[in-house]
Amino acid sequence: MSGRETSGHGTARTVLSGEDIGRVLTRMAHQILEKTAGGNGVVLLGIPTRGVPLARRLAARVRAVEGVELGVGSLDPTMHRDDLRFRAVRPLEVTDLPDGGIDARTVILVDDVLFSGRTVRAALDALAEFGRPRAVQLAVLVDRGHRELPIRADYVGKNMPTSRQEAVAVRLTEIDGSDAVLIVSEGADR
């Protein structure tokens, strides 16, 4: 399904509907179980803001499929970003690690959109302050390309080629009231 809406001076195109997102997350949950031998010792850490509900949804799907309870938490990489001085000051979000910490666990970082890779790099640095995981993997709902660092995702909901002039907006019910992924073209309000 795809629709169009105008916002500001540009247009927004729906590329994933709520239903699509549900399907994609279920597939990702299966992949996680497959690749981590049944989710053994896995901790899902969502990157605020929208990575956090995505991590919770993935954990819920794993529970539904296999009855396995994964650790879930959040990790705010803001203080480790290398691009702070190019933007207005960001409010700090919650970092909340599950009991038992991350030592010797498999940490899966969860984010909504993978773009330059800088957020993930900062998250890897932030993670190092809390311990030494056995492995770190990355799950993203959308990979829109344009990487500036040698970083790739282990689990991708949808590869979505975009131009730099476009923006990808992920909307999640927990935060935005409904589920959708939009591509907003240049000139639109961001």
Partner: protein, 306 residues
């Protein structure tokens, strides 16, 4: 926020943002690695025209935990003590490329002048008898951590209100954050014009103590006595000092605070200062978290307003 010059001008939202950010910073202190890379490449200058090892150290630790470069530019032994003007010093700091200047100065308002002469952010670390905003923020942070809230609390500030920058900053901040502030002092140490402050004034400490959730004691300098603000130290202590009997008159959960340095035996009895009700030690630790928060909020982004 561009500068932090006073709490009088601080909005409720900005004040809460500092306190919330400080909560995050406090978690850093519990980690094995206490350092964050956030302000790497930024330069923070500690410009102290008055000796205050504790405040300067607190800012220095805060800036270093955020990986900023710290330059201590103390007035003592530098050209500043040889009569170099504040304006010349400001130009020197510009040449050093200071992103933030932490300024302690004996003249009220000096950081306001500095803010007009430098491009970087200015943090008032105490100006004369005017304000000491980070002290008030760390006091509010300490109260909120201990009692869980600020809204609706009764906070009593006792001592030399006329000359206290801590009293002014706390009075503005706490009332902005919804606390009821009562100021207690001998009438000679209450400024003319206090009627316009958002605070009650009382000359009777014993009448106020049973209704106080927090009692904040201010340092009283002995030289005030020679200037006839009160007759003797003994009389001051009798009427306005916090001793064990007065502590007992306070509600059991009420806190005793002191910004330090204390004059034990004068405004506060030693056993009161060391009691479990006293937050004196926490205040020092919280000072680092609050100053990290302020440095992050001033330096952790671009200058552009969004």
């Amino acid at each position: 926020m561009r500068h932090l010059l006073s709490t009088e001008d601080l909005t409720r939202d900005d004040a809460l943002r500092v306190l919330d950010t400080a909560e995050y910073m406090a978690t850093v202190a519990d980690r094995s690695v206490k350092k964050l890379p956030t302000l790497r490449g930024r330069t923070v200058v500690n410009l102290f025209f008055e000796d205050s090892t504790r405040t300067r150290t607190s800012f220095e630790v805060a800036a270093k935990r955020l990986s900023a470069d710290v330059i201590n530019f103390s007035a003592r032994g530098s050209s500043v003590s040889k009569g170099e003007s504040l304006k010349d010093t400001a130009q020197t700091l510009e040449a050093m490329g200071a992103d933030a200047v932490v300024c302690r100065h004996p003249a009220s308002g000096a950081p306001y002048r500095l803010a007009r002469w430098v491009r970087g952010s200015v943090l008032n670390a105490g100006d004369g008898t005017h304000e000491h905003p980070t002290q008030a923020l760390l006091d509010a942070f300490t109260i909120r951590r201990r009692l869980g809230r600020l809204e609706g609390l009764s906070v009593t500030i006792v001592g030399d209100l006329l000359h206290s920058r801590v009293a002014r900053s706390n009075m503005w901040l706490l009332s902005t954050l919804g606390a009821r502030v009562t100021l207690v002092a001998p009438p000679t140490l209450v400024p003319v014009g206090v009627e316009q402050w958002p605070a009650e004034v009382s000359y009777d400490l014993d009448a106020v103590l049973p209704k106080s959730d927090v009692v904040m004691m201010l340092r009283v300098q002995r030289e005030r006595m020679t200037a006839a603000f009160f007759p003797t130290e003994r009389e001051y202590t009798r009427r306005y000092g916090l001793d064990a009997d007065r502590l007992a008159a306070m509600p059991p959960s009420a806190l005793v605070m002191h910004p330090g340095p204390m004059v034990r035996g004068m405004e506060i009895a030693s056993d009161v200062a060391d009691s479990t009700r006293s937050t004196v030690v926490e205040q020092v630790a919280n000072g680092v978290s609050v100053r990290m928060a302020v440095l992050y909020l001033l330096l952790g982004g671009t200058r552009e307003v969004t």
